[in-house]
Symmetry: C2
Subunit: 453 residues, 2 copies
């Protein structure tokens, strides 16, 4: 007899975890919808031709590939063996599992471009699979939760991303967090301004270590990466800059005066803030981080990253504006801006901060309990009344001792037990016990409905 | 440049389809929860040792297998080739995609048996994958939607399944349908009573064709399947039986008087009906079908199947009671009863009958439209007011001609457009156009909120 197990890096979600995940996802979905985003879903399997070459060599390695059905090995020859997996792969597999939601979305947009109404705002919440080495907090199956608007370069979209993040976090009772924002054009401009045009990539990688290793070490790394000493010297005042938002913008307008691209980035950022102001919104939680470079190779405008303070978990949301979502599938010029929530990380943050509502433990509100057959029959007759009033109600289905019924309610996290004894039967009442406080009240049906609905 | 495509047998769900699927699934989820069922999810991938041997030889063929990551072919030798896929399979693959929700649920119960509270009521709504030949209405990826209660043999569960089906169908506005119900023990009893004990399987297969081929042909088939002429003769009055529920039960009590098992089946059925009566419920839509044999090899008690009348689609729901969910994983004695909704088929039924609510077309209620920059700024200032009131609101993000904004609302199915012109700005109003009726009303903000909330 086999002892069953889970594939490594995968998880079951039991009732408690599902209730909590649903709490997070419902909050996110409701917010996306409030801002006009529409849900789509794409298949778990995509053709390998759709997936490969989109995530770099490492990504191609991490794709889960699906064996062709039937006699998958019929085209394999002895001489195909021993040359590593690449030679064999295209003979035995033509499909892979979704690796992210961006490439399937791009494919969807291309395949449906004549039917879609642009600007097209879509959200998508589905699992993705990566053959990563499993470790704490990193799984081979995990959910992504993306929202993108394509077919417009309006900066209203960027402003609304900030509003959506703030709304989701408020609904989740998260208060201490930063929405870091930057603009790729500013990074491009900085590289130009210090005389190292085109090298914003290595520049950001090095600067990113500033907090950890200090400016002296960062300077060494920049030198190693081929930056001129004079360039690094020009960079110093920017690195040393400590200022509020207005001061940062003022500084950059001077620092970037030789770079049209850089100035355009500052202008875009100011416009996003201006739109927020027109919307009657402040800049709470918004933190302009001049060196933020998340996903640099992909983003062309705004860049976002959200971190919750005082928790052990990294960024829980991020995104940015891109120029060319679908070019690789033959449809150029589809620009847009998108962001995503890291659902697993948000779960861990809420868990660490104890912010999950107690309600989400069990959805059942009321268990009807009884001592004997007469009580059982009485309770059966009441079930429908409670359910018709929308109260999630159960009855313990077998006649067992009432203590066992209470144990069941306790273990399942049912907040109220309605005792149906001989006195309750004769008076047409139910004795409702609040499992948290221990209080018990004999109530008429309308009273129960009013108390629990 | 590659032209992207979908793997055959898979589908994208666009916004309209997703809204409609969500309408169906939310109805089902809400009902499951009202009856105390809790949601779980299991991984898309399972170990092949969990999956193989559970679905018969054909099922094993239809499992999607996942290539091992890394150098998957490192153990493959030349002599492994040319002998068909079976010899190679265990060298290149150890995981497969979920084929149904029952086996993963059984695995889950076994792995979590010490933490679960029994009776355990779970529901699960996830896609499954089968390497079937794709054809109309049959896909390689489709959703299953299962509810099971395990760890009790109470017939209250069977009665509540009937209630849940009726509630879901009422909420979906489905009125003309039958919940066919039978009991495996009755089928066993019939085989015993006609002197063909143990042959209820072939008996049901033959009888199932009665409507199509007539009694004479069914008799021939029974003879071919080894039934004695005297047995077939004993069966004739049962086949000819046309009666109401009471008549059927009366007939069977006599017909099955030699079979304890058969009489037990009748008794269980009567108890289910008795529980419904104690619950104050009638037998609307309930149709006792003496020959219903869905999934015979698996079920040991009640058997359910639901068909909508006057549509071209087969059964949309079904299930039954089983004895031994988890025996194959080394945990005997876990009995239960479960049923599932065919989400794709329900979708097709509602589509065929035109029962999808118009509301589900788009979630956005209001598009703010404008003529110029002043109107755009004014609209930006209003967005938050509407959204804070829970009204799903959008603004066309780029300044374009107002006709294009109306076209956008039309195509996206937004029911109201709020025009922000110079007059509206000066009076602090919005002119709200009902896109269905063409009516347009100038309203103050509180009026708009009242009208649309």
């Amino acid at each position: 007899m086999q002892k069953p197990s889970l594939p490594k890096g995968t998880r079951d979600f039991g009732p408690l975890q599902m209730a909590r995940r649903t709490f997070i996802l419902d909050t996110i979905k409701e917010t996306f919808q409030l801002f006009g985003y529409q849900q789509i879903e794409t298949p778990a399997m995509e053709n390998l031709s759709t997936l490969t070459g989109k995530y770099g060599d490492e990504g191609d390695q991490l794709l889960f590939k699906i064996l062709n059905s039937g006699d998958f090995a019929k085209d394999v020859k002895a001489e195909d063996l021993g040359n590593g997996p690449a030679a064999l792969l295209n003979k035995v597999s033509e499909k892979g599992l979704r690796y992210d939601l961006t490439v399937p979305f791009a494919r969807y947009v291309v395949m449906n471009r004549n039917e879609l109404t642009f600007p097209f705002k879509r959200y998508q919440i589905q699992p993705v699979w990566r053959a990563d080495r499993p470790q704490k907090g990193r799984y081979r199956e995990f959910y992504q939760c993306d929202a993108d608007v394509v077919g417009t370069d309006s900066l209203v979209c960027e402003a609304e991303i900030i509003l959506m993040i703030r709304r989701v976090f408020a609904k989740l009772s998260l208060q201490d967090y930063n929405i870091k924002i930057n603009n790729r054009k500013i990074l491009t401009g900085i590289a130009e301004a210090i005389g190292e045009a085109g090298k914003e990539g290595p520049l950001c990688v090095a600067i990113d270590k500033l907090d950890k290793i200090g400016w002296e070490k960062v300077k060494e790394e920049l030198a190693q990466r081929g930056f001129e000493a004079s360039s690094v010297a020009k960079l110093a005042p920017l690195v040393a800059l400590e200022s509020d938002l207005a001061g940062k913008l003022e500084f950059l307008k001077d620092f970037l005066k030789s770079s049209d691209t850089g100035l355009k980035g500052v202008e875009e950022l100011e416009e996003v803030f201006g739109i927020l102001e027109k919307m009657g919104q402040d800049l709470a939680h918004v933190d302009f981080d001049i060196m933020l470079a998340r996903g640099l190779s992909y983003y062309t405008g705004a860049i976002f990253e959200v971190k919750v303070n005082h928790v052990s978990i990294g960024s829980v949301s991020g995104g940015g504006r891109y120029d060319n979502l679908t070019g690789v599938f033959g449809l150029p010029g589809v620009s847009g801006v998108g962001f995503s929530f890291g659902v697993d990380r948000l779960y861990d943050v809420l868990d660490e901060l104890g912010l999950f509502p107690a309600e989400s433990h069990s959805s059942t509100r009321l268990l009807l309990a009884y001592f004997d057959q007469a009580g059982f029959d009485y309770a059966l007759g009441l079930l429908n009344e409670f359910r018709n009033a929308g109260i999630k109600t159960e009855i313990y289905p077998n006649p067992v001792k009432i203590q066992k019924q209470f144990d069941f309610a306790n273990k399942k996290g049912v907040p109220f037990v309605g005792v149906c004894g001989s006195e309750e039967i004769s008076t047409g009442t139910v004795s409702v016990k609040n499992m948290a406080t221990g209080e018990q009240d004999k109530m008429t049906l309308p009273e129960v409905l009013a108390a629990l609905a």
